[in-house]
C-alpha cells in the first residue's frame, strides 16, 4: 500500500477525505460552472481554470453520498491526475478544505471489504490519525470507472 508523504484533507458529506498533496495544483472558490447536458453526474460541469477548460468532478457521486449544495466553505481542488495513462487536470468539489498533513506515523489500514456503505475498491486506504477516520480514495480507479461509464452510456444512446 503506497501512502503519500503529505496529504490534503477535505470534508465531503460529513466524511474526511485525503488526497496526495503533490497532486494538488490549486484550491479555488467555486467558479462559474458550465453544465454539460447529458454528462454523467460525476463530471457534470466545466470550469475555467486560468484559461484552461477543466472538468469538475464530484466524489460524493462516486461514493453514493448525499450531494450537498455549494455553501460558503465549498471549494474546488484542482488536481493533476492520470486518467487512463494521460495526465489530466481535474477539479474536485469539497464541502470544506481542512488541512495539509504529514502522514508519517499515522496508522493506515486497508479498506475493510465489508461493513462500509461504499465500494471498497474505490478506497485505497483508511488512515486513523488520533482515532479519526480518513478516506484515501483511489482517484485513478474512480476516474477510469466513470470514463468507462460515460463510454457505455454513449454506446447505449
Amino acid at each position: 500500500m503506497i501512502v503519500p508523504e503529505r496529504v490534503l484533507t477535505f470534508a465531503l458529506d460529513g466524511e474526511i477525505f485525503a488526497i496526495d498533496a503533490q497532486a494538488v495544483r490549486e484550491i479555488l472558490e467555486v467558479p462559474a460552472i458550465t453544465r454539460v447536458p447529458g454528462a454523467p453526474d460525476f463530471a457534470s460541469g466545466l470550469i475555467n481554470v486560468r484559461g484552461a477548460i477543466v472538468p469538475l468532478t464530484d466524489l460524493a457521486v462516486a461514493f453514493g453520498m448525499v450531494h450537498a449544495d455549494h455553501g460558503e466553505d465549498t471549494r474546488v481542488i484542482v488536481i493533476e491526475a492520470e486518467v487512463e495513462g494521460e495526465p489530466t487536470t481535474i477539479g474536485l468539489v469539497a464541502d470544506k478544505v481542512l488541512d495539509v498533513a504529514a502522514m508519517e506515523g499515522v496508522p493506515v489500514e486497508e479498506a475493510p471489504p465489508v461493513g462500509m456503505r461504499w465500494r471498497a475498491d474505490f478506497i485505497r486506504a483508511i488512515a486513523r490519525p488520533q482515532g479519526q477516520f480518513v478516506i484515501l480514495p483511489d482517484l485513478e480507479l474512480i476516474f477510469a470507472e466513470s470514463l468507462g461509464m460515460a463510454t457505455r452510456q454513449e454506446r447505449a444512446a
Binding site: 458550465t34 453544465r35 454539460v36 454528462a39 466545466l46 487512463e84 460515460a150 454513449e154
Partner: protein, 658 residues
Amino acid sequence: MSEDDPVAAFRVEAGELLDSIEAALLDLAGDSTNTGLVDEVFRGLHTLKGSGAMFGFEALARFTHHCETAFDRVRKGQAEASQALIGVVLSARDHMQALIDVGTQGDPMLEMAGEAILSSLEKAVANSEGMAVPRAIQTERKGWHISFKLPPGSMANGTNPLPLLDELRGLGDCRITPRLDEVPPLASLVPTECYIYWDIVIEGDVTCEDIEDVFIFVIDDMDLAITPLIEEPESDEPVEVLPVATVLAAPQPVAKAAPPAQESVRVAAERLDELMNRVGELVIAQSRLAQLATSSGPVNELTLRAVSEDIERLSAELRDTTMAMRMMPVGNLFGRFRRLVHDLARETGKTIELVTHGEATEVDKTVIERLADPMIHLIRNSCDHGLETADDRIAAGKPVSGSLTLSARQAGGEVLIAITDDGRGIDRERVRAKAEAQGLIQPGAVLGDGELFQMIFHPGFSTAAAITSLSGRGVGMDVVKRSIESLRGTIDITSTQGVGTTMTLHLPLTLAIIECMLVRVGEGRYAIPLSVVEECIELPAAEVTSTARRNFLDVRGELVPYLRLRDTFGTDYPADLFQKVVIVGQGRGRVGLVVDQIIGNTQTVIKSLSRFHAGQGSFSGATILGDGNVALILDVGNLIVAAQKNQRLLGERAGEVA
C-alpha cells in the same frame, strides 16, 4: 518550436529537400533536357549530403553521395537524365527518407537495401550514352599534394590554421608536414604571426574545389599550391560495368523508426518581425493604460477609449499574425500528390496529366496534415476508376491522356479544394440501384444528383466491387467523409456521365479560432459555428405550444425539421416567450435549432472537451467567453443526424398509432 534540437530541424529540412528533389525529378521526367531541373536535383542532393553528414546521418550522406555523383555527371553532360535514371533516383529518394527516419544509429538491413538501389543507379548511368560507371572511378584512390602558407596578419584577424588542417583531414587521409624554416629567433618573433607553412599529401575522393573551399577566406592573399598526386585516368574508354545484384523492391518501411519529431512550424522571418512589432505596440499601449490607472484625478474618458481601441486593434492584429503563422500554402500538399499520380499512372498503364491551380492558397497546417490521407484516397479513386484506359478514351473520342486537376481557392471563411477528373463520371443509375438494394433510399424516391452521390459515403457502400467507378481500396469513402468532417469540412460531388467528376472539399480556413453565434438555451450559453448558420427566424406562435408529432417548419416553402434544444439539453429554466430558430446546414442536412435567445456573434478559441465529456455527441468543443465563463460549442453535424433520427422515430410512432 524546439530550439535546441538541430537534428529535428534537419529532419524537417531534409523532408522539404526530398520533396523538392522529387518534384524536380518528376518535372525532369517530362522535360529531360532541362538543365535548371538537373541543377536543382543536384543542389538538393548536395545539400542533403552535406547537412546529413553534419548531423550524424552518415549512412544517408554516403548513400546520397552516389546519387549526387550521378547527377553531377548529368549536369556535366556526361550522362543522360533517362527515365531509368529518374526512376532509380526516385526510389533512392524513398530510401533516403527511410535513412532519415531510422535515425543516426543506422540500420544494416536498410543499408543493404541501399546497395541494391546503387547497383541499379550504376546501371542507369552506365547505360546512358555508353558512359562510364561513376563509382568504379570515384572510389579509386587518388589525391593531391598541397602546399600552403597563410598571408601575414591573418592570424591576428582570426584565421586559425588548426581548424583548417582539421578540415583537410576531414576530406581524406592526410600526411601533414609542417615547415618551420621561416620561424624567426624568439627575440624577433611576433606572437600573433604565423611563420609555419605546411606540405600536405591528401588521399581520397577529393576534388580540387573541395580543397580550395577549405581556404576560401584567405585564398586570395595566401600562397597555395594544389597539384594532383597521380594523373586522373582518362575516361575515354568505357569501364566495364559491375555485375548488377538482384534489385530489391523499394525498401520496406523500417519497423524501428525514430520517435516522431516534435511538431514544429516553419515561420517566415517577416511574419516574426510583424509579430514583434505588434508586441512592441502592445507594450506601449499597456504602459499608457498603466499610466492612466495610476494617475490621480479623474480619467479622461476619451483617452481611455483611445487606449482601449488601440488594444482592441492590436489584439486583433496579433491574432491574425499568429494565425497566419499556422498557415501553409496547399502547394506543399499538392506537391506530394505528383508522385502519387506518377506512380498510379505507371500502375494502371494510363497516361495521366496532373494539373494544379491555386497552390498559393493558404490553409491551417493541421488541416493540411490531416487532408493528405483522404485526398490520397480520392485521387486514387479518380485515377483507378474515374479515368478510362487509353483505348476506352479513344473510343469515347477523348484525348488519350486523362487529366486530373487539383485546385484550391479561398471563398469567404472557407477553402475549397477540388479534385476533378475528365473520366467516365459516376453512373447514377448504378448508385441508385445499389442504394435502393441497401435500403438507403425508397425505390423511386426523387433525389437530386448531389443527394444521390452522397450515398457513396455510406459505410459499406463504396467498397462494393460492382460499382467499379467508385470502389475504394481498403478504406471506404465513409472514412474519407469522416476525416473531412473531423476537420469541420464537407464534401460535394458533381459528376456528368462520360465527362468527368469533381469532388469539392469545403474546409474551414483555420481550426483554432472560429467565428461563432452565441445563443442561450435555458441557463446555458452555447456557441454555433457561424459557417453553418444559414438564417435565424422566430419560432411561429403555432409551433411554440405545439406538441404535435411532426416538428417541421415551413421555411419559404421548404420543410425543415427542428430540434428544441431546451428538450435536448433537458433544461427546466423558464422558457423565453419568443423562441428563436437558428437554421443550420452542413453538407446536405439542414435543421432548425430552437433556442431561447440569440446573443450575438463572437470569436472563439476552440478548446477540446475533457475526456469525461468527449463522448457527448452534441458538442464538438468548448470555449471561454469574454466574461470568463465556459461555453460549449455545438456539433452541428451530430445534431442534424439526431434531428433526422428523431423525425424518423416520430414518424414510426405516428405510423403505429394510425
